[in-house]
């Protein structure tokens, strides 16, 4: 028996609603159609109960910097909002201003300032406020100060070595040379391990006599303003692939079929009678290359699809916050946006009715 997934028996309409079909030259059923009025036989009106019934999250892997999880039962519009918020709207702390007291290295002031800005700073942004736009100096609530004071000098060695590591001291400036200067009132941050996430980011190279003396000021910001504030290295999703074999594949065909897909997708087994047979074991691994459509004798036996509401998210943090915290924060931010507008609409309605009342009273008197 060929391997047939349960959905193979689903109605054609259900397929159109739930699957994106990959054909040789086109992609079919790309758009969501589950809206009221599209289908007579479905009630597609929004229902929180129905949503809660089918919504599901499965964590596949999780570490301090990376995470993969499946989000099932949402529309692309929602999944994409979460992704976009992760990239551009979850705040972090980053260096915003560099006061350069001395820079005699060969790297220009503005290039140095830019490089410093991009260093991920380990500090929980939730402990800080946004710096008010008109504030000149930062306060302990909104600013972290670092200092970079380093000078390259000759090492007192009498060798004929040419290696700068032997000849010079501090000839390479790394992110570990940034020193946090707690502002008055930041004592509570002292056990939070504030500093650069990675200690070995090269900032500049120097020669004896070169010197850097820079004061750095970090503020809270979001990726929409500048990419240095983005809390993720990448945040992306893909749809779960689904591969169905419509007929049995035997003998030589099996290996060819297997090679059309990513490793681990198709398994070739030998039956007790000594015949080779192919079956789908892990469609998730597939990159959906559609290579199978290049084989005229194979392509009619395979259906390639993607499940429209099954998102495989991959989130890679810069290391400032763990990836699961970032996703939680992103969801909270989307909730916050709704709350903000709801509040404003309510305030507006109230002020409108109260001004109407005033107007009426004015007329009476």
């Amino acid at each position: 028996m060929p391997h047939i997934s349960p959905s193979a028996t689903a109605s054609p309409l259900e397929e159109v609603r739930r699957k994106v079909k990959l054909t040789e030259h086109t992609v079919e059923n790309v758009n969501s159609t589950d809206f009221p009025g599209t289908y007579e036989e479905y009630d597609d009106a929004w229902s929180q109960e129905k949503f809660e019934e089918k919504f599901q999250i499965d964590i596949v892997s999780l570490s301090t910097t990376e995470m993969e999880f499946d989000m099932v039962g949402v529309d692309a519009a929602i999944a994409n909002s979460i992704r976009r918020i992760l990239l551009a709207e979850v705040p972090t702390m980053a260096i915003e201003t560099a006061a350069i007291w001395n820079n005699t290295s060969i790297i220009q002031d503005e290039v140095l300032a830019h490089r410093l800005g991009l260093i991920p700073i380990k500090a929980d942004p939730r402990l800080f406020e946004y710096k008010p736009k008109d504030a000149e100096a930062g306060s302990s609530d909104d600013t972290l100060q670092f200092s970079l004071k380093i000078r390259c000098s000759r090492n007192n060695v009498t060798t004929d070595a040419t290696d700068p590591r032997v000849l010079f001291k501090n000839h390479k400036v790394y992110s570990r040379d940034l020193e946090w200067v707690p502002l008055p009132g930041q004592d509570h941050l002292k056990n939070k391990g504030i500093g650069p996430v990675d200690k070995d980011i090269l900032i500049a190279t120097m020669r004896p006599g070169h010197e850097l003396d820079v004061d750095l000021y970090c503020v809270k910001g979001i990726g929409k303003d500048h990419a240095k504030f983005s809390p993720v290295a990448t945040a992306s999703y893909r749809l779960l692939p689904e591969i169905r074999l419509l007929r049995e594949f035997h003998g030589e065909e099996c290996e060819r079929l297997q090679k059309c897909f990513s490793p681990g997708v198709i398994e070739v087994r030998e039956t007790p009678e000594g015949k080779k047979m192919a079956r789908v074991v892990n469609a998730r691994m597939d990159t959906c290359s559609r290579n199978v459509f290049r084989h005229d004798d194979l392509k009619d036996g395979v259906v390639l699809q993607r499940v429209r509401d099954h998102f495989i998210f991959s989130v890679e943090s810069t290391g400032i916050l763990p990836p699961d915290t970032l996703v939680s924060e992103a969801m909270k931010i989307l909730m916050g946006k709704c709350q903000k507008f709801l509040q404003e609409l309510d305030d507006k309605a109230n002020s409108f009715t109260s001004s109407k009342d005033k107007h009426r009273k004015g007329k009476k008197s």
Partner: protein, 131 residues
Amino acid sequence: MAHGITATLANYRTSLQSPSTANIGQEANSSGDESCQTFILNDEDHTLGNALKYILNKNPEVTFVGYSLTHPSENKINLRIQTSGKPAIDVLKQGFKDLKQMCSHMLTTFESSTRYYKENHMDVNSDMDQS
């Protein structure tokens, strides 16, 4: 701030830091028909626009909903709602409520899944300490 040679990094701040008082506005509607209106959402883009469009499309009372970014350098969206009779503003409110409730459920599900994963798959000392 210190006086030195100060190099301030590129800073084209949105109104994020000092939010303008009004984040939502309504286009004047000459006909006075409350069932068709265009709302202006300041400081928003596809992130909220598309999610909102989806949830409003799910409302059977909505006959049309669409949004557009007015211009790449203008930080706002126009959201057009037409209904089969109900005031558009009520439908919009319902949309925000539904979206918020949906996110709330997503958040609790996500947090319980991560908690479960951490309890079952993670040796706090080995896995989390790879940095």
